[in-house]
């Protein structure tokens, strides 16, 4: 028996044993998800070993390339297919084994139901409402999550605590990509919180997402009139630099930043923005 045959037998035998183990697993393991894991791991490795053994036996380039293609195809497609089928099965409600420890989606669902019950008992609890909105936004639609319901609760919350409620509403609109409403809501939030840094940042982010750079710059300008803090100056320079709008304003922001906050950690970046902006305006930096 030549040496390459010995090596190919050494590869083929364990490969076949792995495939055999996978098939034992598929009849012995207790639930669908465990069986799935058995066949995708053991069978894929087993098949790869058998095919490598085959190409060693023939010592033929064409055949080796073909078997390599099969191996890479199987290794790429087996996990993808397994994931797709498991996902479909979970959505269809295929049962878990009773020994399974964790099912996060179901836990979240249960949590939401108890939260809603508590909310019915003590209506007007802002903290509880906030939690219910969180759960509704996190859950997929098949498991009872719904942006519409979340919006309804957020509108209730607005009646109790306007600022927090409107912030939640803005989050919901952002997830649902309802830009017009989001913009309205964020304008009101900024008015209410007197241009708090986080709110302005969110507003600018949403505007940039919609490519309304001019308006974003305008918002920062308004915010600067109320709060003259380094973050806002940095934001102004950054938006002007990144999206090429309102360069004089950006340059002014960068200059003010340099003059007043020389010790700030954001300084090098602002310096970079200011330099570029000054060059586009043909001014001295």
């Amino acid at each position: 028996m030549p040496i390459n045959d010995i090596i190919s037998v050494i590869l083929i035998l364990p490969g076949v044993i792995l495939i055999g183990l996978a098939s034992v697993g598929i009849i012995r393991l207790p639930d669908f998800y465990l069986r799935m894991s058995a066949i995708t791991k053991a069978a894929t490795l087993g098949l790869a070993m058998v095919l490598i053994g085959l190409s060693l036996h023939f010592d033929d380039l064409e055949l080796s390339v073909k078997s390599l293609i099969i191996i890479s195809l199987v290794m790429l497609t087996a996990p993808v297919g397994a994931h797709a089928i498991s996902r479909a099965a979970y959505k269809q409600g295929v049962e878990f084994w009773e020994g399974a420890v964790i099912d996060e989606l179901k836990q979240l669902q249960k949590q939401m139901i108890t939260l809603e019950k508590q909310l019915k008992e003590s209506p007007g609890d802002a903290e509880l409402m906030s939690q219910v909105i969180n759960a509704l936004m996190k859950l997929p639609e098949e498991q009872g999550g719904s942006l519409r319901k979340a919006e309804k609760w957020a509108l209730e919350l607005v009646k109790i605590n306007e600022l927090i409620g409107r912030r939640r509403l803005a989050e919901i609109y952002l997830v649902g990509q309802r830009w017009k409403k989001l913009e309205q809501e964020q304008a009101i939030i900024c008015e209410l919180s007197n241009f708090e840094t986080d709110d302005v940042q969110q507003y600018v982010k949403a505007l940039v997402e919609q490519k309304k750079y001019q308006k974003a710059s305008g918002v920062i300008e308004k915010a600067l009139a109320v709060r003259n803090i380094p973050q806002m100056l940095y934001l102004g320079a950054k938006v002007s630099f990144r999206y090429g709008v309102n360069a004089p304003f950006g340059l002014e922001c960068a200059r003010k930043f340099m003059a007043k906050h020389a010790e700030h950690p954001l300084l090098p970046e602002v310096q970079k923005y200011g330099h570029a902006l000054a060059r586009t305006l043909h001014e001295k930096w």
């Binding site: 083929i12 009849i27 066949i39 073909k66 078997s67 099969i70 199987v74 089928i85």
Partner: protein, 90 residues
């Protein structure tokens, strides 16, 4: 070599029988789909072993096509499963 390969073929045949048991028993459709997937994998292995036994390299093309079709089948079944559930909701 001959003897070892024959033993290997017998092993593969037994594992196909095991998988067929799951294929028939179920209990759910995803179980059957995965069982079918494993049967295809085992058939590719059998093709490989047969090409050594018969000393012919032509069968590897069949294995190549089969591995592609197995993936397509799994994906379309997954699509069908999600689709069926949505229709049942309506």
């Amino acid at each position: 070599m001959q003897i070892i390969l024959t033993v290997v073929l017998v092993l593969l045949a037994i594992s196909i029988l095991f998988v067929l048991y799951r294929f028939i028993k179920g209990p759910t459709l995803p179980d059957r789909v995965t069982a079918f997937d494993l049967i295809t994998t085992i058939i590719i292995a059998i093709i490989a072993v047969f090409s050594i036994l018969w000393d012919s390299t032509h069968f590897i093309d069949v294995a190549l096509v089969l591995s592609l079709i197995a993936f397509l089948g799994a994906m379309s079944f997954a699509f069908y499963l999600t689709k069926r559930r949505n229709d049942a909701d309506k």
